[in-house]
């Protein structure tokens, strides 16, 4: 990764240590202080010009290399994503607006993201449209020189705290369901939008339902071309596929386990220690597969199957390592060094990992993409 990336990793770890309280389990707990920690951390990163490190310099970013971006992803996820919901704005909302937004949209949306002031949510999934996203029913019907949007989104992360929504809606019934979809950038404080939280095992303030009741939008709110939103959705999902370095949190927790158990580590069943080292091997495997995807992406040689294979490996690692960690955690007593931190982290990791093969493109969708790529070779 090079010396610059290593220096950045050291810098981020120091910053996390000084700015994020031990035991921080993400911004979506019942304790409002956690959300404030995340918001403050984003502002601190922004002040140091580190929040949008990966953005091109022309948009106020740090012009970081893909490997520096990888370090940021790893360290943030390993430390329970102290950027909270804002990682989404930085990771893909901003970059997509850079590619497809008008100058006006760029001026309006990019600076607040870069300053660490704004939270975005993604209005994609609907009650009847999960993996089959293009079948969505939320409709924008023409009204005057704009549209009125009605419909329902679900599983919308961060909707209660978001100021903006990256919304996908149907503007036209095309020949194919992928045609006639449009992306709108809409403010969440509009009274035509209602958010209903869904308490869930991933975290009490994570998932939501969002209802749109004749939300008025104009041409200025459209990202890219009307009716051609699907091509942008493809770009969003490809950003998302490597967006979260799940292996980094798995590895951090696995690496911490022996020091928590101290002298009793060797007393664990040998079979459990064997599973532990196997998980560490799978962390290495997932990390190197991620690096291959990053490398292929940056050289423009990426094929759809490449990221899918990595995603299958990393999401399974997330769940498999969570099971092993829970078993190790059961051996930890409250007196052990760092017990409270470790038990909290592991329990949270286990809950959150249940969604890893479902969210951002289910493992079945990844298998479809990978098998298509494999079978295309023989055609």
């Amino acid at each position: 990764m090079g010396p610059k990336a290593a220096e950045l990793r050291r810098e981020i770890r120091e910053l996390v240590k000084s700015e994020v309280p031990e035991g921080f389990l993400g911004a979506f707990t019942d304790d409002p202080a956690d959300l404030e920690t995340a918001q403050r951390f984003c502002r601190t990163l922004a002040e140091r010009n580190m929040l949008c490190l990966s953005w091109p310099e022309e948009f106020g970013g740090g012009g970081a290399s893909v490997w520096e971006q990888t370090v940021v992803r790893e360290e943030m996820w390993a430390h329970h994503e102290p950027r909270g919901a804002q990682y989404m704005g930085v990771n893909w909302v901003g970059p997509i607006i850079m590619r497809h937004g008008t100058e006006e949209q760029q001026n309006k949306h990019l600076p607040p993201i870069a300053r660490g002031e704004v939270i975005w949510c993604q209005g994609f999934s609907e009650p009847e449209s999960g993996s089959d996203l293009a079948s969505l029913r939320t409709t924008a019907r023409p009204d005057g020189d704009g549209w009125l949007i009605s419909g329902q989104k679900i599983w919308t992360s961060y909707a209660t705290m978001a100021q903006w929504c990256f919304l996908l809606a149907r503007t036209h019934k095309g020949e194919k369901k992928q045609q006639g979809l449009t992306i709108f950038l809409v403010p969440m404080d509009d009274p035509a939008i209602q958010v209903r939280p869904i308490r869930a095992m991933l975290g009490p303030h994570h998932l939501n339902e969002v209802f749109f009741d004749d939300l008025r939008v104009s041409r200025a709110d459209v990202l890219g071309e009307v009716d051609n939103g699907w091509s942008i959705v493809g770009e969003v999902t490809s950003f998302e596929r490597v967006g979260i370095a799940r292996y980094a949190r798995c590895e951090r927790l696995l690496a911490a386990a022996p020091s928590v158990l101290a002298d009793r580590w060797e007393d664990l069943p040998a079979e459990l220690r064997g599973r532990w080292v196997r998980m560490l091997t799978h962390c290495r495997r997932a990390r190197l597969l991620a690096y291959r995807v990053v490398s292929l992406q940056s050289s423009g040689r990426i094929q759809p199957g490449d990221a899918a294979g990595y995603r299958i490996a990393v999401t399974k690692l997330d769940q498999d390592s969570a099971e092993v960690l829970m078993e190790i955690a059961a051996e930890v007593t409250p007196e052990d060094p760092g017990a409270e931190w470790f038990l909290g982290e592991v329990e949270d990791h286990w809950r959150y990992s249940q969604a890893s093969t479902v969210s951002s493109g289910s493992i079945e969708m990844q298998r479809i993409l990978l098998s298509r790529a494999l079978l295309a070779v023989s055609k």
Binding site: G2, L288, I368, L374
Partner: protein, 308 residues
Amino acid sequence: MSEMVLDLSEDAQEYGRQALRAFEAAGGDQLVQDAEAKPAIRDSLVGPVLNELGAWELDARTDVDGLEAAAALCRSAGYWALPYPVAERLAKPTDLESDGLIVVASNRPAGAVGGVETRWTAVTSGGTRSTVVGHGATGPAFVTPLELSEIDKNGAGDVALALALPCWTLLGMLDRAIELTIAHVSLRKQFGQPLSTFQGVQFQLTDAEVERSGLEILAKYALWSIGSDKPEAIVDALALRMSAIEAAEVVFRVCHQLHGAVGFCDETTLSWLSRYSQPLRRLPLGLSATRDELTRRAGRSGLTGLYA
């Protein structure tokens, strides 16, 4: 220390492709069948093509280019289930008069070297080196028990490479098994359509491919660790070996299942690959013993990574 590169060098890859073509020209899939009929002719069957490829001029121990070329050669040998202990020959120690190195379990030393008479050295994972002074009858897949005469205990540094190169051979076998299976499910029709159109078939293929590609990248990592003389190279090689055996279990299970009955027939290459993968997976240590050894060596520090 050099940065790890995720792929073999272009030169090594090209050498691997040359080797694939050369093995095909020398008989391809027929080689292992001929050698099984007469293990004593293994050397004369495959020796010439390996000589032509300059296999024994590769220096896998002290030259990084040689190391990568050796790995590529092993992979190509695995692709054709080449009936010759290429990895063992390439892993030979530099400080002994020896033509090849076999890692053995101390309680039941054996190697897939039946019929290949040359100056073999054996080493245990603990580093005890011996001269192979005799061997028993040749069993399935050329495996033969070895008689050893101890030389010294200086072989600890020799083990990692001698564990890693056979994993590259096994990787080549998995490459081929998946390739054959993709071709089979694309052609074979049931219920009026190719097997490849059934999602139950497609998803099994992805299980195999995720294991294969994961093994590929761990194999490269271990090679880099060995080439950089890292003190934990043996742990990295054991982690690779564990993953290689696990990957082989998944891949061969899927490939046999998707081939159906034809996959067991001697006229089908999968049948040969599957059988000849066995020594690579069981010797010197099977999956459980490899994981035990890895767990013991990794201790509480685990594997080198982001947080250790």
